[in-house]
Symmetry: C2
Subunit: 907 residues, 2 copies
């Protein structure tokens, strides 16, 4: 029998007793460095790196991402060698910290944090204060001289460990605390005494025992193994998997585990904790930017529960804060931090996002990583750093993710528009967005699927809200700072975000929000401006962004670098103007059928289609010809001197016919035809699979008068523009849906004959034009050698090529493609990012074979993929001459093309 189970992919690496699973860092010994990011995760690699450059980092060790792979390949177990390696590393920490893990007098406490190759903010679990138990809590009390602090730390640990490692629900711990606070009539946690915390700890421990059937683990080693396992397991929880899917992070990267000596920002008044960016992550300005909280533990800042203070006086002033800046409150620490900022930027040559803690007046660095930033900030930082000499121009070009430019290119609020300001929050992620209010992630996603623009409005966001944030046009929160979950994630996603708009009173039950006297319901429209933090009732008009300054500088650097030319798909003079503004170097696709849909022409188009013979068809075409000529002349004037690729009529003729009863009757009337006769003619033109039907050059071959008219209109327009003294574009006439050389040769003949006629008519001989073809059928790609005999240029029509190569109708794929993406059959939507393996091979073969026949063949691409960075890299690799995309994506394509060239150079 052959009922073989699917072979399991064998990712298991040969395990040897010598495998190094644990890397120490600290003053005593640092084994890793920043280059080991894949093995140690981002956090672990950077902790090691900071140790190497002498920064104050609490000692610790990193368990590698390879261990994560081993863990999943071996039914959640560890190799025997791990225990000893961990033991040695703990001894080093003990040596440096001068305390001992589990020691009741002077206990070493540990944090256990995840850390994958790339940052997954808020996605995975952390356990702090590990090592505390009924004995060591006394040692902590003694050492800190603060009984209340010790028991507060212990209760935090029990709660965190109970939740993360033992799976006891977070709310159950909160209930116990709330009960105590109600009983004691206490509002803030700070009012709870040492005794109160002791009581809480006892109740927490009982809760854990009741829920898990086992007492809370007292043995520090057991605690550590539990926490390590929990971190590894958190790699595979649904929210982490969703995040990875959204961000294209492979599951097999795994996470590392960072175990580090605890330092406390909440041990008293000379303690603090904070986060900072070495430059402003919103504007990119070269100014130290950060927030901190006095006497707080790290997670308090990010959680957005207390409103934090600014690091600098400037930051305080810019944000109209009344709280003192660190520069004023802790000037020595601030000075040290400023020094570290400089060290880090010089060392990493990148804007850093750091976390620090001040314990009893001593500064500790807990993390550094490349800081997330807005697109505008990224641009400014890259340009500034290049101009400061920190990085080269090429590095600057490589640092901007092309997709992020999208944020800069889209409209902003019109400053002159009338706006009903509702309230103001923090400008957490720039860009403006209007949409209907939605108060839950699921609801936001649902409304977005129905085609609404949505503003997701939450008190604060959490990782559970990711899918709703992704679906929304913008995010609005009532609570949290610039580094709150909402702000960080929104910037990463490129969604406008206003955070911490405290005046909003959100009622999840009623699905409403109250601001002063105004009550807005779910479904009401609001507008947010992520650049100013303003929130407006209703929809506010927008204006085009200014593309000067840093944008212009960086794009100029990109343009110096790239090999691929970038054109735009544009059918009208207005589109063409937008395209030129965005730097398009020509039109790669002008769809002439768009001209046919103009309301004042459609009747003649329909007459042409419904003609019963050539004479009738020619009469209808004759009345369209002056209009087409006018269209082309308009386009040629805008595109003076640049290449313009004009595609002859492509879609099946029945696409131009009415299908609703009412419209048919109107048309019958206009044509003077009985309605039944018209319906019959329309029915005769109906096709089972119009995509594969009588369209493209098949129309121009069966009805040569159509293409002849179009060719005449093109040439006559060119003559007109030339007579005006204009600079006629390079005319590239493109024949669609060619499968055989013969088709192209036949159409080329029609075109050439019309060119000769027009030239003879105007007494000129030097009208320059080229005839080429779309390569949009697999056969055309395979027979490119033959087709190139009749073609001066190719343009890969990757939309149709994808449809035919994959047998996948874009119009119909909605019923299964989302499912295909969810299950990983297609990692990306193949209509967005080229299927490089399959469709890409046809592009490669078509290019090779076409050039083999005609080495001068000009080759471009004009599908949606022409604006997709990953696809652009492939087109560069394949040696195409240009890409053509929608005008708004032209800058993205320019940058992506430059990056492709740079990456190929260094590869």
């Amino acid at each position: 029998m052959t009922a073989q189970p699917l072979a399991k992919t064998d990712t298991q690496k040969p395990e040897t007793a010598n495998t190094k699973w644990v890397y120490s860092f600290g003053a005593v010994k640092t084994e890793g460095d920043a280059r080991l990011r894949n093995l140690l995760g981002g956090k672990g690699a950077n902790l090691a790196e900071m140790c190497r450059i002498g920064l104050p980092v609490p000692p610790g060790f990193t368990i590698t991402t390879e261990m994560c792979g081993y863990f999943y390949d071996h039914d959640n177990t560890y190799p025997d060698t791990l225990e000893n390696q961990i033991k040695e590393s703990i001894e080093r920490i003990e040596k440096e910290m001068k305390c001992r893990f589990g020691d009741r007098e002077n206990p070493l406490l540990l944090s256990v944090r995840s850390g994958a190759r790339v940052s997954m903010p808020g996605m995975m679990d952390t356990v702090l204060n590990l090592g505390l138990n009924d004995d060591t809590v006394a040692g902590l009390a003694a050492r800190s001289g603060d009984l209340r602090f010790a028991w507060d730390s212990y209760r935090r640990f029990v709660q965190m460990y109970g939740d993360v490692v033992l799976g006891v629900e977070h709310d159950m711990f909160e209930d116990i605390l709330d009960t105590l606070k109600r009983r004691e009539n206490i509002t803030h946690d700070t009012e709870i005494t040492a005794e109160g915390w002791q009581d809480i700890v006892a109740q927490y421990k009982k809760l854990v025992e009741d829920e898990t059937g086992r007492p809370f683990p007292q043995e520090p080693e057991e605690q550590l193994w539990g926490a390590v396992g929990a971190v590894f397991k958190s790699w595979m929880v649904p929210r982490a998997m969703t995040y990875r899917k959204l961000n294209n992070i492979p599951g097999d990267w795994g996470t590392a585990v960072n175990v580090q000596a605890m330092v406390f920002g909440n041990m008293g008044e000379n303690c603090a904790t904070g986060v900072a960016f070495t430059r402003d992550p919103s504007t990119g300005e070269n100014a130290f930017y950060g927030e901190y909280l006095m006497n707080a533990q790290g997670e308090d800042v990010v959680a957005g529960i207390r409103t934090p203070q600014h690091l600098t006086v400037k930051g305080k002033q810019d944000n109209h804060s009344d709280l003192p800046a660190m520069e004023e409150e802790l000037p020595e620490i601030f000075a040290e931090l400023t020094q570290i900022r400089e060290t880090l930027e010089k060392h990493y040559r990148e804007m850093q996002d750091i976390e620090f803690t001040v314990q009893s007046g001593r500064l500790y660095m807990l993390q550094t990583r490349t800081g997330k930033r807005t697109a505008a900030a990224a641009l400014k930082i890259a340009v500034d750093m290049a101009e400061e000499g920190l990085i080269s121009k090429e590095e600057a070009v490589l640092r901007i993710a092309p997709e992020t430019l999208d944020q800069l290119l889209h409209p902003m609020l019109d400053p002159d528009a009338e706006k009903a300001t509702l309230t103001k929050g923090l400008p957490a992620s720039p860009g403006a967005a209007s949409g209907v209010l939605s108060f839950h992630a699921d609801d936001a996603e649902h409304k977005a699927k129905l085609g609404h623009n949505v503003i997701l409005c939450r008190i604060e966001t959490s990782p559970e809200d990711i899918h709703g944030m992704y679906a929304a046009q913008g995010i609005l929160t009532a609570r949290g700072g610039m580094t709150s979950h909402a702000a960080v994630v929104a910037r990463g996603m490129g969604r406008p975000c206003v955070a911490g708009a405290g005046a909003l009173h959100i009622n999840y039950q009623d699905k409403s929000v109250t601001v002063g006297d105004t009550v807005l319901q779910a479904g009401d429209t609001v507008t947010i401006d992520g650049a100013t933090g303003e929130v407006f009732a209703g929809s506010v008009p927008t204006i085009q962004p200014d593309l000067s300054g840093d944008f212009e500088i960086l794009m100029a650097w990109a343009d110096e670098t790239r090999g691929l030319r970038v054109r735009a798909n544009a059918d009208t003079p207005a589109d063409a103007e937008t395209a030129r503004k965005f730097g398009a170097e020509g039109i790669g696709l002008c769809r002439t059928e768009h001209m046919f849909f103009e309301p004042d022409r459609i009747l003649n188009v329909r007459k042409m289609i419904l003609a019963e013979n050539t004479a009738e068809r020619e009469a209808a075409l004759a009345s369209l010809e002056p209009e087409q000529k006018g269209d082309f002349a308009g386009l040629f004037r805008v595109m003076a001197g640049l290449p313009v690729t004009i595609r002859l009529l492509d879609p099946p003729l029945h696409e131009f016919l009415p299908h609703e009863e009412e419209d048919i009757l109107k048309l019958a009337d206009a044509l003077g035809l009985p309605a039944d006769q018209l319906k019959n003619r329309i029915a005769r033109l109906h096709e089972a699979n119009p995509m594969l039907g009588h369209r493209g050059c098949r129309l121009g071959i069966v009805y040569p008068e159509i293409y002849a008219m179009q060719a005449r209109a093109i040439f006559a327009a060119a003559v007109t523009v030339r007579k005006e003294g204009g600079d006629v574009p390079t005319l590239e006439i493109m024949v669609p849906l060619v499968a055989t050389e013969r088709e192209l040769a036949i159409v080329k003949d029609i075109i050439d004959r019309e060119a000769e006629k027009i030239m003879a008519q105007h007494g000129i001989t030097d009208l320059d034009y080229m005839t080429g073809t779309m390569i949009e059928l697999p056969r055309a790609a395979l027979k490119a050698d033959e087709i190139a005999r009749s073609a001066a240029f190719f343009s890969f029509g990757t939309n149709d090529l994808t449809q035919t190569a994959l047998g996948l109708s874009r119009d119909d794929s909605g019923s299964f493609l989302p499912y295909y993406q969810e299950t990983g059959i297609w990692a990306r939507d193949p209509f967005m990012t080229l299927d490089i393996d399959g469709v890409g091979e046809l592009v490669r073969l078509g290019t090779e074979r076409g050039r083999a026949t005609n080495p001068d063949l000009k080759i471009g691409i004009c599908g949606e993929h022409g604006g997709d960075p990953e696809s652009i890299a492939f087109f560069h690799e394949t040696g195409l001459d240009y890409v053509s995309c929608s005008p708004y994506r032209v800058p993205i394509a320019r940058l992506a093309a430059a990056q492709a060239a740079l990456k190929k150079k260094t590869a």
Copy 2:
């Protein structure tokens, strides 16, 4: 300017003064032979060959086909060297014939005939008696001693030359003759006296001068050049071009011109002319078969104007003729002809079609060529010749055009059926056909396009009728013999034909035919039996042909030779039985959806499709499962032990839904749904391009329960058959429309799980099956290396692969594909004969890449192309394991596969 005209294909050969344009044949000197067919045409090469082997051939010469090419490349002119070469050749003829061209005493007369590489019966022009003029006619009269004969010959010449060379309409000459006959009250031409012919010649010459403005050319040399030019020009007349298109004969082959000394079969009572086949062209029987006319010129026999006599007594008896056989009438000539028959068969090792003339008791051979024959005759001749030792078995296999087997495989009239015999004619081409009467070729073509079976009924057919004969199912003529135009062409085309049914009185005006008292109108149905010559009113039931005897022997030889296995596409036990009868070695494609359309299941199928959730869908599937299981069990019983490839559900689900209002209402009723709701659901399932939509494995992946049900039904059926003691076929489960390996792996997993369940349920472990996939998308062919990881077999679905590779919907191509074929963009319908250059490359790549991963991969093809000989040759070449085609095409595929293997061996 770049308005280049299309480059004209340069077929011009370098002309040298040394080019030999003319090849003599005859007793004096023979320069060509049979191997020079391409240069001399079939007729010319064989005339030379007959001279070489000592047969009596009137001397002459052949102007080569290269001259035809030159003629068209040089504006209908000749090279200077031609004149001299012709002159020399004429001198040789004069020497042998002891007379001189243009001599008034003893004139040499010539025939001028076309002769291309392959025979194009009746297509091109001939001029006889060339060299006659007002002077030489007297010489001919003197030499023949027959003034009437001489003037009859002269009038024939003037008429033929006037028509063929000078373009004076045939009818105008006929009118002159008719006028004279009416005036003189004459019925038969034979009654016209010498003086009568002299009068006619004078009138003919006046007619020519009136029509052309020039007197009839008297100069023999001028006559010759005119006739040669007319033959070359006849190569490009429309009817010749149509014939070539229908028969795939390239236009650049050109025709040769054969100029030969005239011999006369009409010079008196010891003269005759005839045609013969060395074996019976209808049955293949090894018996001399021919017809002749006493005192007649060659064209008279073929034209079917007089009913000819048989050569042999047996032939006379078999055909119930009252006229004497040549064996009786001219025994010496018959003996000489019988000797020649033997010589020719031994020499050519093929059945020959010969023309001869007896002039004054002396036999001359005018032509020999391979004889056209019916499919049955071809089979018998090939088998007999191999058994006689004339040819090898391999040659026998190669001699049968696979397509012709079609004639043997189709139904014959049921001998027990009630038949209303109308009349009887000659059994001119075997096979039975029913259809509506049609009296004109255009009308026949029109009706056939509307989907009718047509019987084309003509008094006699002519080359102008070719397209109508091609469109018809059968041909019926009132006049003409077994070698008449209708008979010869019908046999070549494989159309049943009854010829010379003299009782038919056809009225073209009324579009009716009268037989005795019966009047049939166009549109009435008749049935003809080309094997017996019978004609019946109405439609007569048919029975399956007997496939024993020669057929069985030849197919056995073919089977010994071929490498490709041949399977059939069959969905039911009945289809499977037909397939096995025709020699299918398995089922290559069982389309499970055909089972879904059964009237008693369609409701459950529709319930399954319209299910709103998995549970509903599973319930509907559960009620279909026993039916599917039963279907499979039936199929497995028939295909005992042979491989059976079962394709899982493939078409888009909406194909199963009703579309007519009435049917929708019925379904709504049956489902208990409001009609509007049902309409909405149907509308939701509608697709713009269903070919590229939610179908194939996309269904099985989104709704795994469908494929799971089908897999269970397959395995359960196999278990059932095994429990019955049956021989379970090799199960090959085929997944349709796979684009990525992952899809196949997912479906394979579903199948494997169901196999395990069924095996566990029945306590068995050794149920053998394979999972494989259709390769029907270009991407699948390109990524065959990856897909082969999960596939045990591939089957190229060349129908869909053609649709996607060419972007060509078979359903919609009717609006332009005929035009594409007419203009030569596609030489063949790419859905009939594989586009080897384009789609074929995908088959080749898919095979190479699939085998690179999995050398044991079984590879077949199951599109329409699996039954097309030319495509089969390609599949053999490419190394496929099998082809699968419709049951009726299985023998064709077996033979084509054998020929492909033989041709590859000798290549």
